[in-house]
């Protein structure tokens, strides 16, 4: 079963002469895919295409999910500052027409799942960066997503908080029934290799997928996995593919006479 797929998807930006793509990307139900690539390689655009928030100018974007069963976590927590954590998490369900008591019950469940059962009434302004991100994650989980899209969600957090959230994400994924498909955009190669079952490398110059590397080890992985030789090797492989892609970008930019 396919959770979402892009087929020869092309996006043209009014501000740029060069279109992104054509991009092919198939996400199977229940798998975890990490997208890595330099800035401007279209990672965020790919997520928005998968979510259906943007339509490709050419090619297709298809989803195999039920309506309203896509969760999206943005780079920043993106919480409504006027509403408490509970209302923020209940929002997607309420927008989808779920009655408020039922929506709040699911929201409490989702907040408990991310360890914030005590913070239901907290306003976003009172939360730390890591806690706000957990609320944001709970909001994406509240709808029991079949497809969960995360756009560099932990980039602004410190290493410890970040690792904890990655562990949590694995646990939440494993606890899902059925397990959601996850597409995770990141700059961090180690995070990508640890979290995902496969890592897709995008190239900025073309906006195409230039490498698709399966990672070793069954999911979810224990924290000790970070010390394993297979993991280290996979990190090196992905880093090499990423550096090749970035080098190609630089060559291409030089050929056009613009700074990379």
């Amino acid at each position: 079963m396919t959770a979402a797929a892009l087929s020869a998807a092309v996006i043209r930006y009014p501000s740029s002469a060069r279109p992104l793509g054509p991009l092919d990307l198939t996400v199977a139900a229940g798998e975890i895919v990490a997208l890595v690539g330099a800035s401007g390689s279209g990672k965020s655009t790919a997520l928005r295409l998968l979510a259906g928030l943007e339509q490709p100018d050419a090619g297709t974007a298809t989803r195999g999910t039920a309506p309203g069963r896509i969760g999206f976590v943005f780079q920043s927590p993106t919480l409504a500052p006027w509403a408490d954590a509970l209302s923020n998490v209940a929002l997607p369900l309420e927008l989808s027409g779920v009655p408020r008591p039922e929506a709040q019950r699911c929201a409490i469940e989702a907040l408990s799942a991310v360890g914030l059962a005590e913070a239901l009434a907290a306003r976003p302004g009172q939360l730390s960066g890591g806690m706000a991100m957990r609320v944001s994650l709970a909001r994406a989980l509240s709808i029991r997503p079949e497809l969960l899209l995360l756009d560099e969600p932990f980039a602004a957090l410190d290493t410890i908080t970040r690792r904890a959230l990655v562990e949590d994400l694995h646990a939440l994924w494993a606890a899902g029934s059925p397990r959601p498909a996850i597409v995770f955009v990141t700059h961090d190669v180690e995070e990508a290799v640890y979290l995902a079952g496969r890592v897709v490398v995008l190239q900025a110059a073309t906006g195409r997928a230039v490498a698709d590397i399966p990672t070793p080890g069954a999911l979810p992985r224990p924290p000790q996995w970070r010390a394993h030789a297979d993991y280290r090797r996979a990190v090196e492989d992905v880093a090499a593919a990423l550096s090749d892609a970035m080098e190609a970008d630089a060559m291409e930019a030089a050929a056009r006479g613009v700074p990379a």
């Binding site: 409504a80 500052p81 006027w82 509403a83």
Partner: protein, 254 residues
């Protein structure tokens, strides 16, 4: 207590200014019909208190009606055009025209339309015209200030326009809308005074009329007393709306 201490420098400066004024008037024997000392203004404030309070009440009433009118029209219009970019592009220049046209220039026209016997209505309309722009602009800017990613979230879950307005854009607009209202309130008082000057036949018995009357009779102490009332009125309106603003922002835990 802390706020009192924060106010202290301003109070001291104010006291020094008043003292300097009092001493200068006495030493230089300035005639009272030119510049009365603050003590004379204080006496006028007390002696003419009933008349001035009644006039202040009239001005306050007109400014408040103007503010409500401007909020209804400005806020409503901002709400209506916030749904469509081309509607905004059509309406915004007109709003700017209203803003840049001096109220005093359109006052005679509005007076003719309402009729000289309904000068009070003219004052309300003119003051509303002055207060309109900050309220419209604050509301419109606020409605469009919602986090684009939150807007995307509303797209993702196929929110209805009403859900988007009620649960995203209106709450997001609140701080800027209140800021616009606060500026608009100050403008409404200024507009009411200017409009009353123009219609100044005694048809309205607001503070501006007292100002004119006192000026014509060279009762400068009474004139200054009316100015004090006007300043207090503006400060009061400002303080009330600022308090609402603060409580709203505090409720958001900022």
């Amino acid at each position: 207590m802390k706020r009192l201490i924060a106010l202290l420098p301003a109070l001291i400066a104010f006291a020094v200014l008043l003292a300097g004024w009092e001493i200068a008037c006495r030493l230089l024997a300035v005639p009272v019909y030119f510049l009365p000392p603050p003590s004379a203004v204080a006496v006028a404030l007390i002696e003419r208190a009933p008349v001035l309070a009644a006039s202040a009440w009239a001005t306050f009433g007109m400014a408040l009606q103007a503010l409500l009118l401007a909020t209804a029209v400005g806020g409503g219009l901002a709400l209506a055009v916030s749904f469509s970019r081309s509607a905004e592009r059509g309406v915004r220049p007109l709003a700017v025209v209203i803003q840049v046209t001096p109220v005093i220039a359109i006052a005679p026209l509005v007076l003719i339309w309402t009729g000289l016997d309904r000068a009070q209505l003219a004052v309300v309309i003119l003051a509303a015209a002055v207060a309109f722009y900050p309220i419209f602009s604050g509301m419109l800017t606020g409605l469009k200030s919602a986090d684009p990613d939150l807007e995307r979230l509303f797209d993702l879950y196929a929110a209805t326009p009403l859900q988007r307005l009620w649960r995203l854009r209106l709450p997001a607009a609140l701080p800027q809308a209140l800021e616009g209202l606060r500026v608009g309130a100050g403008q409404a008082v200024i507009g009411a005074v200017v409009a009353e000057f123009v219609s100044g036949s005694g048809a309205t018995k607001g503070l501006a009329w007292r100002l004119l009357e006192a000026g014509n009779r060279l009762r400068i102490a009474e004139l200054l007393a009316a100015v004090v009332w006007l300043a207090l009125l503006g400060l009061l309106l400002n303080a009330v709306i600022a308090a609402v603003e603060r409580s709203v922002l505090n409720a958001r835990g900022r």
